[in-house]
Subunit: 363 residues, 2 copies
């Protein structure tokens, strides 16, 4: 089930109705006549819905009952209760989510790395020299150790070859094509199907309570924007991520272009996350969810604000349905944040026990 | 009249009601019972409003009738007409506005420069050496020529002294204090009262038609965020601007801080505007408004997208109520963008003729 977009909407009768009401009311703000009709109609539709589908009201159906689910529901309840001591006005209900390992899977390697490696392979026909040139040789031979040995310099060369030297529009097309063609090695599904069903429901639940949901990820912002809106219901302007420099140019016939350059602009990871939140959002979240030490400072930054706060960590404990890893993982290492989270009473999701379902395609 | 915020809402019976309807419907998305009540109530309220205040329906009351106003209304009409050839879904209705000279005045100097100069004066008691040290000497003596002679280096030193070396929170307090105390030399009003009434109405009109309104300004993003929400109804996360580097640190007792450093991070002006739009919004606007050559590339970028487009330029032609300046102005120079706008049929606002009222405090 997807929370937004034309196909996603079909999945949820409840939210179709909610969108209708919202749209109708907004459109009606100019035409008074249509407003009357819409609102009365909305009332009637709602009335009909009450009797037709009462079971849809239960939030977070893929979360098992227990302290974690209860903490989420209690938090949302208290910050939305007008007149209550923890009330937060809608405009300040900022929720930030890490992406890799928090909203979708990140094993066996970050999916964006897989995209880059697949691009290297596709481009290698035009670059025969890569067969003997690191870091490309390592990618083409699937030699993880040799690739790791190329270090940051290697990563930058791969980014330069696969993410730069083209316009922002051309890059978005490449990413979309990859999502359409590539399959995850373990699950044999398109990568954007490896999203966590409980988190899709949580995003939707927060938005239904007038939270504004953001992604704050170490991943590339222009990579995420290709799939995040249809997959998570999060629009491009609510995605904070890492980036390389883009440059404005006038191309053929004076057509304005944004060219992607092989130069890191911003790394939205670790201490970069509060910086990214400040730069792009300009407000401190009251709700943040991560899964690794790359989210540690975002969680600290969220925790340090005044009033009610929610800090959540997805702990990957389910080798059967997903993966089990934490302190010693090469991807999504969770160590310091787990210790501080436990010490300070942050909400630690035990994937195996707290999630009824992990991926939408699983039973 | 201000379009949003507690005080602003009081100004408009029409929009109070609109907000109520919206809030009520949203809150009702969980509690079915309250939804029924709200929607029926909203219908009744609306019905009442129809008879009580029909005159409020006229959009853009401070715009004189004429081709400019008609172009705006026609554009909004066609992109919101479902099934029409120019229809744009709400999520893609991105509108970007320059700030200085487009939403508020920028004479005799950019207001943020005045803030910086006032800070230099306030800090000079602790810096007796500034009396003999440029660029501070020039600021303290009000010597514009000497200040200009210090060039970019001088500007950076002033920014370092007035915008850096403190936390983001501390800076926001300084800015708020300045807005409360400082008065514009010509109009003897707080600087945030020098906003353009027609543009407040335009922002509100666009939002009523499900546009998402953004500021894309050469001004400092953290400066603008202090007043933009209450003044324009534009939240912090919809402001794109220039910035200096912020760094995450743990302060006393492990408290996380963002320290502002004396280093330029991003200049959101000229060719930087499409770059900023891509970075922060990730979608090309369908509507852009500027007033100077600093907005030229934003207007070009907007114009180059597919489908219906609106490009607007405020031409300052009203020395009596505001100022008259364009090609030779030291602030807000409008030259190339005016030529291209005229050649390509962009919408040029002649302030003197197209605006019934300029500032809210004027008759």
């Amino acid at each position: 089930m997807q929370p937004a977009g034309p196909s996603g909407r079909l999945a949820s009768v409840f939210h179709i109705r909610d969108t209708w009401v919202h749209d109708m009311v907004n459109r009606a703000s100019i035409a008074i006549t249509s407003r009357i009709v819409s609102c009365l109609l909305a009332g009637l539709l709602t009335l009909a819905g009450t009797f037709a589908a009462p079971a849809q009201n239960e939030p977070l159906p893929s979360w098992n009952d227990g302290s974690v689910k209860q903490t989420i529901v209690n938090f949302v309840g208290k910050v939305t209760r007008e007149g209550g001591p923890d009330y937060v006005p809608p405009a300040e209900r900022i929720a930030t989510f890490d992406n890799d390992g928090t909203l979708w899977a990140e094993q066996p390697i970050y999916f964006q790395f897989q995209f880059a490696f697949d691009r290297v392979k596709a481009l290698s026909a035009r670059h025969p020299e890569w067969r003997n040139q690191q870091p490309f040789k390592a990618v083409l031979e699937g030699d993880a150790r040799a690739l790791a040995a190329t270090g940051e310099k290697g990563v930058l060369e791969i980014i330069a070859a696969t993410h730069a030297g083209m316009t922002t529009d051309a890059f978005a097309i490449k990413v979309a094509q990859w999502f359409a063609a590539a399959r995850h090695p373990r699950f044999d599904k398109p990568y954007d199907k490896l999203v966590y069903q409980p988190q899709l429901e949580l995003l939707q639940y927060l938005r239904a309570n007038n939270f504004k949901t953001f992604i704050v990820s170490g991943g590339g912002v222009e990579f995420m924007r290709v799939f995040a809106e249809r997959t998570y219901g999060i629009p491009p302007e609510q995605i904070v991520g890492s980036s390389i420099v883009a440059k404005f140019e006038l191309g053929a016939e004076g057509k304005p272009l944004l060219m992607k350059e092989p130069k890191i602009e911003f790394v939205d990871d670790g201490p970069g996350k509060p910086v990214g939140i400040n730069r792009f959002i300009g407000r401190r979240p009251i709700f943040a969810f991560g899964n690794s030490d790359g989210d540690y400072q975002m969680l600290q930054w969220t925790a340090a604000g005044p009033g009610a706060r929610f800090m959540g960590i997805v702990h990957h404990t389910d080798a059967e349905r997903e993966w089990a890893y934490d302190r010693n993982s090469h991807v999504g290492k969770l160590d310091k944040a787990l210790d501080e989270g436990r010490a300070k009473g942050w909400t630690i999701v035990d994937m195996k026990h707290d999630w009824k379902r992990v991926f939408p395609f699983q039973p």
